[in-house]
Amino acid sequence: MSEDAVIGLLVATVQFATLVYLAGLGELIAERSGVLNLGVEGMMAMGAVTGFMAAIATGRPWIGFAVAALVGMATAGVHALVSVIMGAGQVVSGLAITIGGLGFAAFIGQDAVRERADAVFTDQSIVGLSDIPWAGPILFDQPPVVYLAGILGIAAWFVLTRTRLGLALRAVGESASTTDSVGHSVTMLRSSAVLVGGAFAGAAGAFLSLYMAAGWTEGLIAGRGWIAVALVIFGAWRPGRLAAGSLLFGFTLALQPRVQTFDLSIFGLEVNTISPALLGILPFLLTVVVLIAISFRARHRPSPAPAALTLPYRREER
C-alpha cells in the first residue's frame, strides 16, 4: 500500500468524520435537552438541497452553507412545535421529519439534479501547518468546513459544560420539572436546542452537497443521518467522545469505496476481500454493542443517557 493511498484514506476519514460530527453534535445538543430527534436524515436532505441551490444561485458556497443551516433550523422547528410545544410523541414526530424532509427535498430538488456545481468549497491549506509531513495534508489542507466543525465542537463543549446556559440545558434533559421549578422555561430551552440541532444537521447536509458529493441527487444522504443518531449514543452524549467516535465512523465510511483496492494482509486476512456493504454495518452494530455495554455498566454507575430523553413535559400534568 502506497503512502499516498494511506494519506488519501485518512484525508477522507477526516472529511467523513466532519460530516457525521456536525450532524451528531446537533443531535447531541437536542438529546442533552431531553429531545430525541429522529429527523436528522430529513433535515440533512433539506439542508443539502437548499444549500446547493442557494450556492448555484449566488455563486458563493458560504451563502449556500448559511441557507442550509437556516433551512435545517426551520425543518427542526416543526419537530420543536409538535414534540416540545405541543408535547406530542418525539419518536413519531421525528420520523415524520425524516420521511417528509426526504420527500420535500426530492420535490424541490428535481431540477437541481442535473446542475453542475461550480460554487463549491475548495481546500484551504493553513500556512505553516500544511507542510508538516502526514499531519499537514490530513488535518491542515482541508475545506474550511472541517476547521469550522472543530471550532463548533469546542464551542459546544464549552457551552454545555462551562456555562450556566449549558447547565440549564443539561438539567432540563435530566428532569424538566426540577428545571422548571427553579425558573427556567422548559419549552424555550428545549426548542432552542432542537433548532440549533437542526442548523447543525442542515449545515452537515450542505457539506455533503457543496463539497463531498459536489451535487444533489435523491438519496444523497444515504443513511448518514442515522449514523449521526448512532454516533451520539456511541459517544455517550459527550462532545469529546463524539469526536473520537466520528473519527472511527468516518474511517469506516472512508474505507468503504477504497477497501477493495488495498493490497494488504492483516493476520492472514486479505483486506481487499472485505465487502464494502458489510463494512457499512459496523457503525450500527457497534452502537448496539455500546448501548448494551452501557446498560451493564449502569448497574454500578449512572447511565450517560439524559434521564428525561423522549419524555415530553407539561407543567400542568404529572
Partner: protein, 406 residues
C-alpha cells in the same frame, strides 16, 4: 471524564432568559371532556391540512393542484382497477402497521419494522433458493413462515436487551434497519449474485411458482392475510386475558407486576410477535409483487407502518383505515408521474397528514389558555415570578410519556 463542579442549580435561575416575563404565552390545559372519536377527527383534519399544504406546494411549482388531485383520486379510488391498486399498497402497510401496533399496545416502539421486513424477505428468498423445487402452495406457505422467522431473528437481540437489560428498543431496532438493508446489498453483489446477470449485479429471480395467487385486479391474496391478522389481533387484544395483560403491562407496569404478570416475558412476546409480523409483511411483499429480492424491496413500508400505527393509536380498526388511505396516497403519487409531477408528493403528504393529525389531536385533547405573566406591567402586584395566575403549581413528578394520546 468527570463532570465539573458548578454552582447549585437554584443560583442559575438568576441568569435565566426573561422572555416569558414579558410575553403573554399559551398554556395547554387538558380538557375535562374530549370530543368522542377525537382521533378520527384529528386524522381527517390532518388529511385536509396535508391536502391544502400539498396544493400550495404544487401551485408553487407550476402545477395545477386540481388536475393533480383529480388524477390522484381517480387512479386510487375511481373504479375497480384503481381500488385494487390501492389495496395492493395498503396490504404491506396494514401488516407493517399491525406489527408496530402489537408492540405499541404495550408502549414499545418497534422502529425497525423496515429492517424486519427486509430480513423476512431475505430469509424467504433464501428458502426459495434451497427449496425451489417444491410445488407452489407448499413453497409459498413455507416462504411466509421463513419470512416471519427472519423478522424474529432481526428483533430477537433488541427484544432480549429490552426485556432483561432495559436497553431502549427504539435505537436498537432502528440500527438494525441499516444492518438488514446492507446485508441485502452484500448478498446482491456477493453470494447471491445471479450468475446469469452480466452487466449489473442482481439477485437470482424467484422460482415461477413462488408468487402469491391473485385475487382480483392487481390484488393478491395477501390482502386476505392482512384482514385476517387485523381481526385476530383485535380479538386477541380486546377479548382475551392475554391482550388485557398486554395492555395493562403497557399502561401500568407496577399494577401488572403486582398482579403477577411477568413484564419481561410480555416485552419479549410483544417485540418478537411484532418482528415476526413485519417479517411476514416482507415475505408477502416479496411473493406478492416482486420477482426477486432487492435492497429497495420494502421501499419505506416499514417506516410508513410506524406512522400508520401512530395515527391508528395502535388499534386494529384504525390500522385498516389509515393503511387504506396511505395506500391510496401512494398509488395516487405514482399515477401523477405521467403528469410530470414527482411521486415524492406522496411521502410529503404522508408526513404532513401525521404532523397535522398530531397537532390536531393535541388541540382536541387540550385547551389553549393565554397566560399573562406575573409581574407584567398590566398587573399591579406580584413582586417575583411564581406559578402563572390560575395555573397549577409546577408538578414535582416527571412528565407523562404518553400525555398527548398519540
Amino acid at each position: 471524564m468527570t463532570e465539573p463542579t458548578h454552582a447549585p442549580l437554584h443560583t442559575v435561575a438568576r441568569g435565566r432568559a426573561r422572555w416569558h416575563r414579558i410575553i403573554v404565552r399559551p398554556v395547554l390545559q387538558r380538557r375535562a371532556r374530549v370530543a368522542p372519536a377525537a382521533q378520527a377527527i384529528a386524522f381527517v383534519i390532518g388529511i385536509v391540512l396535508a391536502l391544502i399544504a400539498g396544493a400550495m406546494l404544487l401551485w408553487g411549482s407550476g402545477n395545477d393542484p386540481a388536475t393533480v388531485y383529480q388524477r390522484m383520486a381517480e387512479s386510487s379510488l375511481g373504479g375497480f382497477d384503481a381500488l385494487s391498486r390501492t389495496l395492493l399498497r395498503a396490504t404491506p402497510l396494514a401488516i407493517a402497521g399491525l406489527a408496530v401496533a402489537v408492540a405499541g399496545s404495550m408502549g414499545l416502539w418497534n422502529i425497525g419494522a423496515e429492517g424486519q421486513m427486509m430480513a423476512g424477505a431475505t430469509v424467504a428468498a433464501g428458502f426459495a433458493m434451497v427449496a425451489g423445487d417444491l410445488p407452489g402452495p407448499v413453497l409459498i406457505v413455507l416462504m411466509l413462515v421463513a419470512g416471519a422467522v427472519g423478522g424474529v431473528v432481526l428483533v430477537v437481540g433488541p427484544a432480549l436487551a429490552r426485556a432483561y437489560l432495559g436497553v431502549s428498543e427504539i435505537i436498537t431496532t432502528l440500527m438494525l434497519v441499516e444492518v438488514a438493508i446492507r446485508i441485502v446489498e452484500w448478498l446482491k453483489v456477493g453470494p447471491w449474485k445471479d450468475p446469469e446477470s452480466f452487466g449489473f449485479a442482481q439477485i437470482s429471480p424467484l422460482p415461477d411458482q413462488a408468487s402469491l395467487p391473485g385475487l382480483f385486479g392487481q390484488v393478491h391474496i395477501g390482502v386476505l392475510f392482512a384482514a385476517a391478522l387485523l381481526l385476530a389481533f383485535w380479538l386477541a387484544v380486546s377479548r382475551t386475558a392475554w391482550g388485557y395483560e398486554l395492555r395493562m403491562a403497557g399502561s401500568s407496569p407496577a399494577t401488572a407486576r403486582y398482579a403477577g404478570i411477568s413484564l419481561q416475558r410480555k416485552v419479549l412476546t410483544a417485540l418478537l410477535l411484532s418482528g415476526g409480523l413485519a417479517g411476514l409483511a416482507g415475505a408477502i411483499e416479496l411473493t406478492g409483487t416482486a420477482t426477486r429480492l432487492e435492497p429497495g424491496l420494502s421501499s419505506g413500508y416499514g417506516f410508513a407502518g410506524i406512522i400508520v400505527a401512530a395515527l391508528a393509536l395502535m388499534r386494529p380498526s384504525g390500522v385498516a383505515v389509515v393503511a387504506f388511505v396511505f395506500g391510496a396516497v401512494l398509488r395516487g403519487g405514482q399515477s401523477i408521474q405521467t403528469l410530470g409531477v414527482t411521486s415524492s408528493i406522496a411521502t410529503i403528504l404522508q408526513a404532513m397528514i401525521l404532523i397535522g393529525a398530531l397537532v390536531a389531536a393535541v388541540l382536541l385533547n387540550y385547551r389553549v389558555r393565554w397566560v399573562r405573566p406575573v409581574g407584567h406591567p398590566s398587573e399591579k402586584s406580584a413582586p417575583q415570578a411564581g406559578p402563572a395566575p390560575g395555573g397549577a403549581p409546577p408538578s414535582e413528578g416527571s412528565s407523562h410519556p404518553e400525555a398527548s394520546g398519540v
